[in-house]
């Protein structure tokens, strides 16, 4: 059973949602998921782009009320 970690990076200026995701991926098991909450619209493209480069799986992007939820599964 995979676990999901929520990274609430809403309003985070520094180090920012993608840096928080990279840090969090180091502490979870392969197959586990990270749900990044971001108010920065750039995360909608930044995070999937980075996942593609390093071959983690971007499961989906959902617009919530006032923020985006970007779900990533650790693949390696």
């Amino acid at each position: 059973m995979s676990e999901k970690t929520i990274v609430d990076a809403r309003g985070a200026f520094c180090p920012g949602p993608l840096m928080e995701l990279i840090a969090t991926l180091k502490n979870i098991a392969i197959g586990d998921e990270v749900d990044v909450w971001s108010t920065d619209k750039g995360s909608v493209t930044d995070i999937p782009e980075w996942c593609k480069k390093v071959k983690h799986e971007c499961v989906g992007v959902v617009e919530q009320q006032g923020y985006w939820s970007v779900l990533v599964r650790k693949a390696k």
Binding site: T5, V7, D8, A9, G11, A12, F13, C14, P15, G16, P17, L18, M19, E20, I22, A23, K26, N27, I28, G42, D46, E49, W50, K53, V54
Partner: protein
């Protein structure tokens, strides 16, 4: 029965809280109604931002340290006895010597540590300045350096987010002064798709780097260093050759946090406004130890500590909450060896770095000395 406040960690946050509390609850301490105990793992207090200057010979090692006992108010009971287990259910801390400390309020300020050992080849092949031994070795390497390819490599997570930009710009001026810049190429790598986590700082750094011919490689998360071939490779598939590799290693939290199962990676889940541990109403988390998505920096620790002092003293004296932390951070940024700028931001207001000036550089040099007033809770 006295109320017991226990602080784990004698860095910037723990020390400001201990000394600040002593000023706020003088009468309670004098009457014995409250006791403050600090548990640390060293008898020295280090001014960590000073490490940036050591490789350039601009700060002496002795200037980085004070005796922690002398920095602390005498009313604080201080023990050098590293915490080994924190039991937040039993309200108990166990130390290396086997002693047990119980508490009514606990402050966890155990900080972060560099982990070059988590990346193959990094410990052997890279230099860094985030601890004294590393800063000494880098100082020697800079003295010997006669030109070549320099890679400044940034990893996540790390503390003091502006330090990588600072060392890059300071190095360039150092190489110019040494007369080797015309034989030197500097490449800066960063984990995400811009030069800094803070977008305004990233935007500011682009023309600064271009002006000085500093190259960059973004989306670069280090996979391995090959000390024999002198190359560094990223998870994204890029390999860079180097003659001198300076890394900002990835960090993790304290081992006691991991061993006590208080948070993955040593980062404790923390309410970003109250600074209380998630699930606790008597455990404050400050500084690098939190999992709050905010800069891990001395400045953050300082302003968080001020908030905790106000709340702990109100709770102890009047059984009420005082105020929430607003995310305030203020960082000086050295933009060379003679100029600097600064950023200030909080949870709702983004930073906006101004043009570099000699005055801000001198202010930072001044703060390097005035820090000891901050640690004492006076500034």
């Amino acid at each position: 029965m006295a109320k017991q406040v226990v602080i784990i960690g004698g860095g910037v946050a723990g020390t400001i809280i201990a000394n600040g509390l002593c000023r706020q609850i003088k009468s309670e301490l004098a009457s014995g109604a409250v006791t403050i105990t600090m548990i640390g793992d060293t008898d020295k207090h280090m001014y960590q931002p000073g490490l940036l200057y050591v490789p350039f010979g601009k700060m002496r090692e002795s200037e980085l340290y004070r005796d922690q006992r002398k920095v602390l108010d005498k009313k604080v009971a201080f023990f050098v006895d590293a915490a080994k287990n924190i039991d937040v259910e039993a309200k108990r801390v166990t130390t290396a010597s086997g002693k047990t400390y119980t508490y009514d309020y606990l402050v966890i300020a155990t900080g972060s540590r560099i982990r070059p050992d988590t990346i193959p080849g990094m410990s052997e092949g890279a230099h860094w300045f985030y601890d004294l031994e590393g800063a000494r070795k880098l100082r020697d390497a800079l003295n010997d350096f006669q030109g070549g390819k320099v890679v400044i490599n940034v990893n996540a997570p790390h503390k003091c987010p502006v330090a990588p930009v600072e060392i890059t710009l300071m190095l360039r001026e150092f190489f110019v002064a040494k007369g080797v810049m015309d034989k030197t190429e500097i490449t800066y790598t960063y984990p995400i798709g811009r030069l800094h986590g803070l977008e305004p700082v990233a935007n500011w750094a682009v023309p600064e780097f271009q002006k000085h011919g500093i190259k960059s490689e973004t989306f670069f998360n280090t996979k391995a260093v090959d000390p024999q071939a002198k190359t560094i490779t990223s998870e994204e598939g890029v390999t860079l050759p180097y003659d001198l590799l300076i890394t900002i290693p990835p960090h993790s939290g304290s081992q006691v946090i991991i061993d006590s199962k208080l948070g993955a990676g040593g980062w404790v889940p923390t309410n970003k406004q109250t600074l209380l541990r998630e699930g606790s109403d008597n455990v404050f988390i400050v500084g690098d130890t939190t999992n709050i998505p905010i800069s891990k920096a001395g400045s953050t620790a300082h302003f968080e500590a001020d908030t905790v002092v106000d709340n702990l003293s109100s709770l102890l004296k009047e059984q009420r909450w005082s105020r929430n932390y607003d995310g305030k951070v203020y960082c000086f940024i050295e933009t060379g060896l003679t100029t600097g700028t600064y950023i200030m931001f909080n949870y709702t207001t983004p930073p906006n770095p101004g043009p570099p000036s000699a005055m801000v550089h001198w202010l930072k040099l001044g703060y390097n000395r005035m820090y000891w007033l901050s640690a004492r809770g006076l500034l």
